[in-house]
Structures are given as C-alpha cells and as structure tokens.
Amino acid sequence: MTAPLHTGAEGFLHRFDGLRTRLPGARLGWVQQLREQAAESFRAQGFPTRRAEAWHYTDLRQVADAGFDEPLSILGAAKTLPAPHGAWRAVFQDGRFRDDLSSLDAAPFVAASLAAGLGTLEDRLGALARPAAEPMAALNTMLFEDGLVVTVPAGVAGGVLDLLSLGSATDRPAAFHPRHLIRLEAGASLTIIETATGPAQARYLHNPVYEIEVGEGATLTHVRLQQESPRAFQLGTLYARVAAGGTYDNFTLNAGGKLVRNEIHASLDGPKATCHMNGAQLLRDGQHADTTTVLDHAAPDCASRQTYKTVLSGRSRGVFQGRIHVHQVAQRTDGYQMNQALLLSPEAEIDSKPQLEIYADDVKCSHGATVGEIDADQLFYLRARGIPEPKARSMLVEAFLAEAVEVVQDGAARAALEAAVNGWWEAAA
C-alpha cells in the first residue's frame, strides 16, 4: 500500500496526464519513455519527505502544498536584464528559452534551446540524471519543456557564457523544470555564470536539472548565483561527470529564495580529474537553504576540494550534507571538505552532516565542520579602532566568506560573485 501523495505531487501528475501528448518530444519514442518512467518514479515516491535520509533536514511540505500551474505563454515584452558578465548570453523566462533576449550566434561553441534540438539528444538527455533515485529529477524529467544545450568542441576556449533564469510574477504560482545539458569535449574550456532571479513578489518553483560532461583535460568553471525572489522555491539537481585530467569547478551562492536546495552529484571518472565544489549561503529571517553534495571518486589520482560557508541571521535555517565516496579503484585520492557556519542570531539553525566512505587504502581525505558566532575579541578590536559596530560586524562576516570566495579563480566569475555578496549585504544592512 502506498501512502497518499501530497496535493502538489498529485497536481503535477495530473498535469503530466494532460500534457503528455503536447510536451516537447511527445512524438519521440525515447523521450516518451523517459517521461513515462520518470512519472512512474514520481508517482511512487511523490515529493520526498523527511523520512528519506537525503531529505532529513529539508521539509518540502510548503512546496508540496503550494499547488503550481505551468507557466503562461511567454509575452514578447522586453525585460530589463542585468548587465552580462561575458560575451554570450542565454536567457530563460519561466524555464523557456528567450531567443530574442539571448545572444549566442557568434560564440565559438554550440549553444541552443533544448526543445528545438531534442531529436539529436538521445545520447545526452538522461545520460547522468537518475530520476529513479532523485524525486526532483523525476519531476523534472516528467515535465521539462526546455533548457540549454551547450557543446564546446575539442580544444576550444569558450570564454564566458551567461545563463540567466527569470521567474515571473503571476496570479497563480508557476513551476518550471528546465533541463540543461552541458558538454565540454577534450581540452575545451568554458566559464558559465548563471543567475537565477525573479521580481520580489513572485512565487514560483524553479526545478532545474543539469547534466554536465567534462571531457579529458577540459575545464568548466560554473558559478551559480541563486538570487531568486524571496517568495520563490528553487530545487536544483546537478549531475557532473569529469573525465581524465578534466576539471569541474562549481561555486554556488545561495542568497535568495524562500526554500532552496542545491544538490550536486559529481563523479570523477578518469585519472587525475579534479572537482571543486564551493559555495556560500547567506540567509535571512525565514529562509531555508540546503546544500547537498555527493562526490564519487571513481578513478585513481583524482583531487576534490569543497569549502562551504553559511551565514545565518534571524530565524533562518541552513543545511549542509556532503558525502564523499572513494571507490576501491581510486587510489591516491586527495579529498578535502570543509563546511563552516556563522550564526548571527540565536534563533538561526544549521545542520551539518559530512559523510566519508572510503574503500581504497592509499587515500588522503580530510573533512571538518565548524559552527560559531562572531568572535567577541575580533569585534572589540575593530570597535576599539573607532569602527562602528554594524560596520565591524559586516567586515567580520565578509572575512568569514572570503576564504570561499577567493577560491574562484576566473576574474569575471569572481567579480560577479563579489557583486552578489555585496548586494546581499547592502540589502541586509
């Protein structure tokens, strides 16, 4: 006997029943099959509850109970877009590609709408995502309409690509489930600076899934600035596979949204591959942000670095779960994971769960977690030099974040990130 589904899950399944013949790829057998299988998984699991170990610290009831419509048709009205960080830009509104706002034509790589090119993506769509294991990926697979497909040819330096996601304010909240496929062929490089945002009053669910393949010796820098509307939900699931000698460098800023989750599954599949997963969560009263990482060391001589910092004020709640799985074959693994939280309020809460599973014997793996408040001696030192208390506090919070921000090497990415962090502060002050 299965437990009754939350309204939200039923709603999404009904929507799928109504839309199945009209969703992109409805006439492609393999797409249909993916969607039907995902729908079965989602029907069986529904929205994850706290009984599921992976969701123990994040309660999705407010998402499940909300009830969402699909987005309205895109209006042609021009949007005021934030200034781009790079030369190329892909813009999505409510999960749908806005060709008119994007500029990709002159790029040295191929980037296009997923919906438009679905027929050619059988080997890529679903290659990494695991809808049977991750219910949010199942929901995405069942209902995705569009996404960005990027292919950087072998040896090409792709430069900086902006990926912008805009949520809209509508009478009834909308849910959108973009599926982004990113592939770097051998020796290629690319920096993606992704911004997800929406107007202050907008309530929506942004449920993206990423499938990212980093080829041999390729380097992908991926900065994600999550600055969703304070009433919105973002539940993102990212899958990355890194081939021999390749590097995947992810930095995620969780600064907006009512309830957000940044879930990353990365696999180091070839020798001497590297993965950096870093991030900062800046949380205000009423926000809940969850960073969950699963890192597979599946080849020898790979290195991974994770540094996550969370600043919590008011009645906010942060979650960090980080699992590192070192397979038996992964000798000489060099792994490091650190997560630190700074509590600015007695009502804030952080849950932190590092997990190391090591099956190889020649391994250097370390992890650490700290939770603290602003250091009274440091605060007094600054004030004793004439620096007013609010300024002194903000300096110490910035210093706390500095270590996580400094790991971002790419200049454009770093500038975008620093601007986002400063913006959070100015709004907080």
Partner: protein, 248 residues
C-alpha cells in the same frame, strides 16, 4: 585629560580593581608598573570599553566627558587608543582595508574628509617606513602570520595613523627584542606633544629607558600603592615588587 577616581571593577564577580585614583594631565606620560595579576590589563580594557568587566564604583572622565558611558568606538573616536598586549588576528580582513576603515571612521568623527585608497596608501607608506615595516604587511590579513614584533609594530602603526590624544600601551614591550623596542618607543615619542598623553603599562623598566615617563605608579592588588618620578622604575628594577609590597 584623563581622570580616574575610586574606580572599582569585577570580572565574573571577582573584584580586580579596588579603587584606582589616577590623573594624567595633557602632555603627560605616565607609567603603570606592577606584577602579574595586579590589574594592569583589566585597567586598560576597562578604559577602552571591553565587555565582560563590571564597573562597580568610581568614575573615569576624559576631557571632562564620562568615558564609561561611551561605546568602544566612541571612545576611540574621541581620541583614546589602546595598544593591545595581544593584538587580535583577523583572518580574511586585509590590513590595508582595516587601517583605512579605522582611519576614515575617526576622520569622519573629527569632521575631516575621508581618504580614498590612493591617499591612504601614501600616508600609510610614510608611517610604515618610519617604523621599518615592510610594505607587504598592508596586503596581509590583520596580524595574521605576523611575528610578535610585527604585531606590536602594527599597533604602533595604527596609533601613528589615528593620532590619538591619549594612548594606553598595554605591555607593548613584551615579546620585543631591543631593536623592535627602540622602534616602538620612537613611534610613541614621535607623537609627543602638549595635547598628547600616554599611559604606559609595563612589567619591566626596560621600555621606560626609551619612553621616559613623567610619573611612575605602582599597581598592586588593584590599587595604586606608590607613585613617584622616573627613578621609581629603576628602584623597582633593582629591588623588585616585593619591597613595595612590604612598604605598602
């Protein structure tokens, strides 16, 4: 300039200062000497406004203003400076940003225009040269990875930049070799002026060879038990605090 009357203070319910009376006039350099645990550091923290000390009696005025009613940053803005015995490390806060933020906070309070990064660098470089400080100390985190001597020099650099009217030097000589000691002393002597006063807190007489005080006070058991001229410091060096204790 600084007037302390009958000051008593406790930490965690334990009395540390037991009635301090002290007056430092404008332009005066006073030394406070005393054995470990006599209340020297407590006195300096109480004057600077650190939390965790309960004032149970007495008063402190600074140019006639009730110092104890002010927040630490207000005391600093009014011209009080504490050179810390143990300067605090601030990982992630660049020394240049720290110094400029502090200087501009004080300048704002004085009604002076703030310095931009270039103007600040010019001023800071001059001061650092005088203290034989390498310029890369500006780029590092505040006191992070600094040697004991570098930390103390960084304190004196802050003092030189902020131009206080009353400097409290809390065992600034501890951990310094003789060359560093001279540099620090020169830094303090350079500020000597008719409207600059200093309270030099030290365990040893050594520093007072280079910063010559007008008056020396001996602090024991949270009270000033003896006061005299600079010769008192030499006397203490020769005979130790036990002789004072016996006399008191």
């Amino acid at each position: 300039m600084l007037k302390i009357e009958g000051l008593t203070a406790e930490v965690d319910g334990k009395p540390i200062l037991n009635g301090i009376d002290l007056e430092v006039p404008a332009g005066g350099i006073h030394a406070i000497m005393g054995p470990n645990g006599s209340g020297k550091s407590t006195l300096s923290y109480v004057l600077a406004g650190r939390e965790g000390y309960e004032i149970t009696g007495g008063s402190v005025t600074f140019d006639g203003i009730d110092l104890l009613a002010l927040e630490p940053e207000e005391r600093a803005a009014s011209g009080l400076f504490l050179a810390f015995q143990y300067p605090v490390e601030l990982p992630g806060v660049g020394n240049a940003l720290f110094l400029r933020t502090a200087l501009n906070a004080i300048r704002r309070h004085r009604g002076e225009p703030e310095l931009d990064a270039m103007q600040f660098l010019k001023v800071a470089r001059q001061r650092m040269q005088a203290l034989s400080m390498p310029e890369d100390m500006l780029r590092r985190g505040v006191n992070v990875g600094f040697s004991g001597g570098e930390k103390k020099r960084n304190e004196v650099l802050q003092m030189a930049l902020l131009q206080p009217r009353l400097a409290i030097l809390d065992e600034t000589d501890s951990g310094l070799d003789i060359d560093a000691l001279k540099i620090v002393a020169e830094g303090v002597n350079a500020l000597r002026a008719p409207d600059f006063s200093a309270l030099v807190i030290t365990h040893y007489q050594r520093l007072l060879d280079y910063i010559v005080p007008d008056r020396v006070h001996v602090l024991m058991g949270g009270r000033i038990v003896q006061s005299g001229g600079p010769e008192l410091a030499q006397q203490l060096e020769a005979s130790g605090y036990a002789s004072v204790q016996a006399a008191a």
